[in-house]
Symmetry: C2
Amino acid sequence: MKPSPHQDHPWVAVDVVIFTIDEGVLKALLVNLKEGPFRGHWAFPGGLVSLGESIDAAAIRELSEKTGLRHIYLEQLCTFGDPHRDPRAHVVSVAYFALLPRADRRLAEHPKYARLEWRAVTALPPLAYDHNRIAAYALDRLRAKLAYTNIVYSLLPDEFTLGELQEIYEMILGTTLDRRNFRKKLLAAGLLRALPRVRRGPHRPATLYAFAQRRPMNIPIL
Amino acid sequence: MKPSPHQDHPWVAVDVVIFTIDEGVLKALLVNLKEGPFRGHWAFPGGLVSLGESIDAAAIRELSEKTGLRHIYLEQLCTFGDPHRDPRAHVVSVAYFALLPRADRRLAEHPKYARLEWRAVTALPPLAYDHNRIAAYALDRLRAKLAYTNIVYSLLPDEFTLGELQEIYEMILGTTLDRRNFRKKLLAAGLLRALPRVRRGPHRPATLYAFAQRRPMNIPIL
DNA sequence: GCAAAAGTGTTGAGATTACACCCATGC
DNA sequence: GCATGGGTGTAATCTCAACACTTTTGC
């Protein structure tokens, strides 16, 4: 690794796939590009990494610029480095994925983009760059991680019912799960804490739960 | 993502952790640096990505420059982007790991490095940059992948005995495995083909096996 | 004949699945 | 009182782990 300042090099960018649950569906945040060869196309939010800025910091910056939020679950996915993925220049992009609780979904306005929208991951439009590949990759990773980590806490508000939790699992995995077995496994995993309160609705009240620990852990769940 | 050519940007490099089995031990290829702030230190082979070169191509190039080999198992690991990981400049490094069959271990000479050496992964010296982190990460990934992919074929010659295969699993995982259960599982996975030949040695001859398919597949093994 | 690795099945425990009925509430 | 989601237990199956002896060869 011998930096030679007189030679041209690729640029480095980050792109962030931000997932959330909205209207009972798993959605991702898309931005509509105002400029460049993909003007008018949808893409995941992203941008160049500045000199002296760590790539994690760049991803956090993107997140907070676009959603106004910090302290969100954020994980590096994969790096895409095909020289032709951006027609303007060779841009190596480090993809991240983030999980947003459904409670907080206000979106910051941003001069760089025409619009920001939450779109169902099962019906994404054709995206700019290689972002459809990033989307597929992110969704695979999210599905895999549901089974052996507790990161689903990042998609949930502080309090939730077991029914709501199961609904999220089913939505993301695209399957249905047996209610009794699901409850047994999740309670056996010891990640949840029953609260002395219930959620009232049109039917029988449901016990509210909270995560005992709101930090990422590797634990077999399903 | 709006490239602005007048601004300085980080550079992009690849670093490759090349594993092989040697003398009954899992080893990684280290290079001794001739220049730079880590002169005299050991590191994994790596180098800057050229403009117009995909990062996968850069990793393949590193591999073939250092080992003279192509068509080796190669997988992207993770990207490290701390601005201070290289004291000279902000270099974002995409780490890869590669698996080399033990048969082919001749090493190409390389003007950039003082020496190339295979070193046991359980006793790596302090490495340049953040390469000890990369090493830990690569080893974790390799261990995890043994259980649910067939990539171990990349560490083995065309023909091998079940005993040799088990030895490799035990070596990498750092555990011992029950021989009967191990054989049952591997044969049940259907990845192996018994050859009509045996390996003769000082004791009872062992049936030789080959992998039915020498390409990466995700299949539960252990 | 003996040392050393190869080869082979069974059993018990634990985990996982499948499955049906009553409960509490709002309307 | 009825529609709706909440809450609960058991039996059958499958998977996984533990375990010991015989075989074949080189020396």
